[in-house]
């Protein structure tokens, strides 16, 4: 125990008591491990793992609802393949995300604010910024967690379809090729959706408004695009429909898959020709790069 000293005037000077506090002086993990564990935590939190029971309900329900049609399709394929004369997947790998796009949209709209907006709203971002992890790494890792979670959501049903197809004796080489093409599409779609929703969530910091904002962007864009494409194909202006397909992530990725892997058409006016296909791919890259840049710029404005 420390002793109070007496100054010349006879009053005790200040003293710091030794309570046994020691700072941590052991080995510390490097930045890569920090980023990795942050990524894994974000990924788990998106599905509610590692958080309260309430936060598991929505993502897990949506996940189950995404898998259910795939299960049913596989079941039908396996059982009734000969009866119905099927020689390929009932719903192709590239079309499945388009069919379930409402579920994917709701998932992204609900979880992006949980990952992104929560830290900004309640200012816990200052805790992250005060640690060794740089600001840009924080943003990119959060984005990566969201993208990985979306990829799991989109990709697992495709895996299910693939395994079911193998079970049903579809030609393995061809199925593997198509499955890989579908996974490329899933990766691109997950990237696009997470970039766009993260940007919206980071701008509108309130959770409810962020959810509504993401849904507005995804749903309105998809409805407008399909309306325009429907009208374009019905009235002989396919080019207009092809250009319109650039404006919704779902049709954009489907168009890229059509251009690269010649998948069956899922939209009224998929891109025809190499130039249009290249344009689709270029737009994907541009949108991803642009939204990441905008996201980084937005986080630069955050002050601890």
């Amino acid at each position: 125990m420390a002793e109070p000293q007496e100054t010349p005037t006879g009053r005790p000077a200040g003293v710091i008591h030794d309570l046994g506090y020691r700072p941590y002086a052991g080995p510390r993990l490097g930045n890569r491990e920090i980023a990795w564990s942050f990524f894994v935590t974000g990924l788990r939190n998106t599905f509610g793992l590692g958080r309260s029971g309430r936060s598991k309900v929505l993502p897990m329900t949506l996940f189950a609802m995404m898998l259910l049609p795939a299960l049913i399709l596989v079941g039908v394929l396996v059982q009734a393949k000969d009866v119905l004369g099927l020689d390929a997947q009932i719903v192709s790998y590239s079309t499945y995300p388009l069919t379930t796009q409402l579920l994917i949209s709701v998932f992204v709209a609900a979880q992006a604010p949980a990952l992104i907006s929560r830290d900004l709203r309640f200012r816990s971002i200052t805790l992250y910024l005060a640690r060794p992890m740089p600001r840009t790494v924080y943003v990119l890792v959060r984005l990566a967690s969201l993208a990985a979670a979306t990829l799991v959501l989109i990709g697992l049903p495709l895996l299910l379809l693939y395994l079911g197809g193998l079970l049903a004796d579809l030609p393995a080489g061809r199925e593997t090729g198509r499955f890989l093409g579908g996974m490329v599409g899933a990766v691109l779609l997950a990237l696009l959706l997470s970039c766009l929703s993260a940007l919206v969530a980071a701008l509108t910091v309130r959770r409810g408004l962020a959810v509504a904002g993401v849904i507005v962007v995804l749903l309105v864009s998809y409805t407008v695009v399909t309306t325009v494409q429907g009208i374009a194909v019905g009235t002989g202006h396919p080019r207009v429909g092809e250009v319109a397909g650039l404006f919704s992530p779902f049709t954009l990725v489907n168009g890229v898959q059509r251009a690269l892997f010649d998948v069956p058409r899922a939209t009224p006016t998929p891109p025809e020709g190499a130039a249009m296909g290249a344009l689709y791919l270029a737009v994907v890259v541009l949108v991803v790069a642009g939204s990441v840049a905008a996201l980084l710029a937005r986080y630069r404005r955050v002050s601890p």
Partner: protein, 244 residues
């Protein structure tokens, strides 16, 4: 000064109008009808006055997407933020009857529906089919009736739970959207289908099969009134503790 037996309280309406356009909510509320009108113009330029094109634009985008989203944005913006941060205490710690607070806020929400959904639908309808004004009128009125019902239901959700917007979106996208497209029985329990039936009758189109217009009208009125009433009841017994 508003009397306590008037249908709405002027001050609550005034406060509501000022708060509904906060930050990005105002941007989204303005953007939605702009998208609708831009699409209407594009379609008109592309194909002239085509009946199917007009219907799919006005129904698929306007009635199914834009109208409920406007209602959701407006209504949740009037109730959810105040409940969330506790400033609704300043409205509730007064002798204003709770139902009057609810109707006042719903009047503001309805005004937003008129301004950002019903009138733009009318204009879009006239842009798409200027030779068939009853079509535009039908869609405008359908948007108004459906929007009012949506506002009441979303208001009720807002006072019940903090996750009102997510639940409202799930109702819209999963119940009315996904399941409604797959199972035709949903039409008996879907505000969107009821307002579409209204449009059918007034505008002379065939959006919904086998749904009596009397049922649709009654259902819309009942749901709107019931949700408004329950919201008022809930506000009367509203829990607001100091620490959240």
């Amino acid at each position: 000064m508003s009397s306590l037996s008037a249908p709405v309280h002027r001050t609550v309406v005034r406060l509501g109008v000022r708060s509904v356009f906060g930050r990005w909510r105002g941007v989204l509320l303005f953007a939605l009808p702009v998208v609708l009108l831009a699409l209407a113009v594009l379609v008109r330029v592309l194909v002239g006055q085509d009946r199917l094109a007009a219907e799919s634009t006005l129904y698929g985008l306007g009635l199914v997407v834009i109208t409920p989203l406007v209602a959701l944005l407006a209504t949740s913006g009037l109730l959810a933020p105040e409940i969330d941060d506790g400033s609704i205490a300043y409205l509730l710690a007064t002798p204003v009857p709770r139902w009057q607070i609810v109707t006042s806020k719903l009047v503001v929400a309805l005004g937003c529906v008129v301004a950002f959904a019903a009138v733009p639908m009318l204009v879009a309808g006239l842009v798409l089919r200027s030779d068939d004004p009853t079509l535009a009128l039908g869609f405008g009125l359908g948007a108004l009736a459906g929007g009012a019902a949506y506002c009441a239901v979303f208001a009720w959700l807002s006072v019940l739970t903090r996750h009102a917007i997510v639940i409202g979106l799930i109702y819209l996208l999963i119940w009315e959207g996904l399941l409604g497209g797959l199972l035709s029985g949903i039409r008996w329990l879907s505000i969107g289908r009821w307002s579409a039936e209204l449009v059918d009758r007034i505008g002379g189109v065939f959006l919904v099969d086998d749904l009596p217009v009397a049922y649709a009208v009654v259902a819309l009125v009942v749901v709107t009134a019931l949700a408004t009433w329950r919201t008022g009841v809930r506000l009367r017994a509203f829990n607001l503790t100091g620490d959240e």
